[in-house]
């Protein structure tokens, strides 16, 4: 292979379970890591009647289009919580950081998410929403300003780890009028 794939990435790719499972998985309680690790749906099915939320794992996000329900249908307004089980997980965030380099996210969004061709992840501002589900969707579906769609090209598990990493970079919003406060060193190009 003439273009060197970084060694760490090769190892990484081999070590991660890349299930092609595409069912609308509804997993069990938060913290049920067994289903996530194995990528199976067996544990999830049992709980589906009582739980509508979605967790990290090798599966797609479930979107309920309540807006197209017929008039008079009793709407369930409560938003569906979407949880990334990798959120705050140091190991997953470290892996996400490597994926961020390996998949060339860095050269668009800058080192440590400082921003370059693509928007910053450090400024606390999210153009398509900053919740784990929103970030997952941005990576999975792509965004109209040139963000490529990674869904189907890399495993969903990796997208969840990238989500955990990207969210870990965010600091609270800075004042738009602050010229003398903390500055972010320009990285990337």
């Amino acid at each position: 292979m003439p273009r060197c794939l970084p060694q760490h990435l090769l190892i990484l790719l081999m070590s991660i379970s890349c299930s092609s499972q595409r069912s609308h998985e509804t997993a069990g309680a938060a913290g049920d890591t067994s289903s996530r690790r194995t990528g199976t749906t067996s544990a999830a099915g049992a709980d589906s009647a009582t739980s509508n939320y979605f967790v990290a794992g090798d599966s797609l996000r479930f979107i309920e289009h309540t807006e197209i329900l017929p008039a008079g249908f009793p709407l369930q307004i409560k938003p569906l919580p979407i949880k990334n089980l990798y959120e705050g997980d140091k190991g997953a965030i470290a892996t996400g950081a490597k994926l961020y380099v390996g998949y060339n996210c860095l050269d668009c969004h800058g080192a440590d998410g400082s921003g370059a061709m693509g928007p910053s992840f450090q400024d606390g501002r999210w153009h398509f929403g900053g919740s784990p589900g929103d970030v997952f969707e941005s990576i999975y579906e792509g965004r109209p300003d040139g963000m490529p769609a990674w869904g189907g090209r890399i495993s969903n598990d990796q997208i969840w780890m990238l989500t955990a990493y990207v969210r870990s970079l965010s600091s609270k919003d800075l004042s738009t009028e602050n010229f003398t406060g903390k500055t972010v060193e320009r990285t990337g190009h």
């Binding site: 003439p2 273009r3 060197c4 794939l5 970084p6 990435l9 380099v101 390996g102 998949y103 060339n104 996210c105 050269d107 668009c108 800058g110 080192a111 400082s114 921003g115 370059a116 061709m117 693509g118 928007p119 910053s120 400024d123 501002r125 153009h127 965004r143 109209p144 300003d145 040139g146 963000m147 490529p148 800075l174 004042s175 738009t176 009028e177 602050n178 010229f179 500055t183 972010v184 060193e185 320009r186 990285t187 990337g188 190009h189």
Partner: protein
Amino acid sequence: MKRVLRGRAAILPLIALAACSGGDKSAAADSTSSSGPQATSSAATGTGSVSGARIAVAHAGPPGEWQMPAGDYASSRYSELASITPQNAASLHVAWAFSTGVLRGHEGQPLVVGNTMYVVTPYPNVAYAIDLAQTGQPLKWKFRPENSQQAIGRACCDVVNRGAAYADGKIFYNLLDGHTIAVDASTGNQVWRAKMGDLSRGETITMAPIVVKGKVIVGSSGGEMGVRGWIAALDANTGKEVWRAYNIGPDKDVKVGPKFKTFYAHDRGKDLGATSWPGDTWKTGGGAVWGWLSYDPALNLIYHGTSNPGPWNENQRTGDNKWTASILARDADTGEMVWALQVTPHDMWDYDAVNENILVDLPIKGQTRKVLVHFDRNGFAYTIDRATGEILLAEPFVPMNWSTGIDMATGRPKVVETKKTAQDKNVKDICPSLEGGKNQQPAAFSPQTGLFYVPTNNLCMDFQARAVTYIAGTPFIGGNAPEKGGPGGYRGEFIAWDATTGKKIWGIKEPYPVWGGALATAGGVVFYGTLDGWFKAVDARNGKVLWQFKVGSGVVGNPVTYTGPDGKQYVAIYAGIGGDMGLLIAGDVAANLPYDVRERGTTLPDIARWTSWGGELFVFSL
């Protein structure tokens, strides 16, 4: 009707010019004709005070118009209009202004043809035709092309456009998403549209075309996306592709054949565009043409530069990596390469060679030479024989430390070992930075003084290269290069350069890189704008600032001058910070938050205090 008015008006400054310079202006006096660029090299312009110094190709159309990106094929950015002088420049004032309705970096320049000004904006690349003959400058038309939004995130260095070209009743320009279009100059209707680049592979187009003998010449951007750079010619009437030459790959694709007679022996050889790369790495090797084009009708050669090799990490592409970071001369009819000069072989600092090539005849060592003058990103100013590609002179024009000079026997730079970048190494304090001693901001030449007026950067960088995998449509870079101000406590300087001796004559130090282009005029006044939003008129002879005005946003565009319907000389400039430098404050604004003025980095400290986003045309007169 308007045309007649316009023509009469244009004669006034001509009379003044002829009276003061005494040159042969017969060719220029045909001011009622605006039927496209004059493709003659016989009409010498500006036989001023420096004997033997002349622009190689005449101004396109009447002197009161601006039909080409640089005003002429020679890329001189010189105008014979002479009403504005060092004596009266202090009374310049805003005549009118126009918001383009678009933010982001306004590189490039408007065109003026007859009584109409044509403006092309950054993405979404809206074109405006402005009626100069009516009070209030109403629009004749506005054209918004179909232009994929995906292009925004595929463009490395802001969503800029460097302008349009006019010929035979049509306006030609490129769209960020990889299309070239022709628009009817009188109606604003699209005449044709040609898909030239593949956006899914990161091919965008930002450069300004030129029109040569009925062909529109365009080239790709995307050196940071692992593209394979190309230049192409389209039939101006139909948009049909006439030829396309790649800058890397086998001779057949690169169009190296019997006409290829380049000066340096080591640059001759079979398939160098492929064999100077390991394996098939040339297929994603960059070498885009995102800068300016020049044309010499006497030699029938088109001159263009090529971008950095991809990726930045040199480990992944050992060898010379031809023909990246090169100046190439091609036959205008066929695209065949005639000579090639790789100014930075095996570039490991992201020093693209896309800067403009200015075609002039200069007295060098007692002989008048047909030369091309090029201020490269790598920090050297080259004076080159434009028929052969021989380097006559190459001297640093900015502080630099990566090279000790050019080996005149081979034309290659002598590289300082400690400034060579390498994978997984952090090489500190390389000057100039990857923005170059000069970037896209084009210089101007005045035959009156024989000097080049050059907007420059004074920046240095640390360079950390790392392995990177090619993934189509994502950056293929493999490097971090944080920048800082260069030695001397300033970050930019506007200089006057003597290309016959390789010496700086004077300079105006600026707090920020000078990212806007230059305009030289027969009145002896030179114009440029700054990143912090000052538009300046300076004395061409000594660099004295005669006048300055704070425009609405930082300037990254290039001034042009024209004669209005009232016979007065006007100077027009875009305000609108952006481009690769402006992206420093844009890094965040790339996020569609134009109101955000937070400081973005240490490279341009405090810039946000001085300017913020805007897209506006300013027009000045006495």
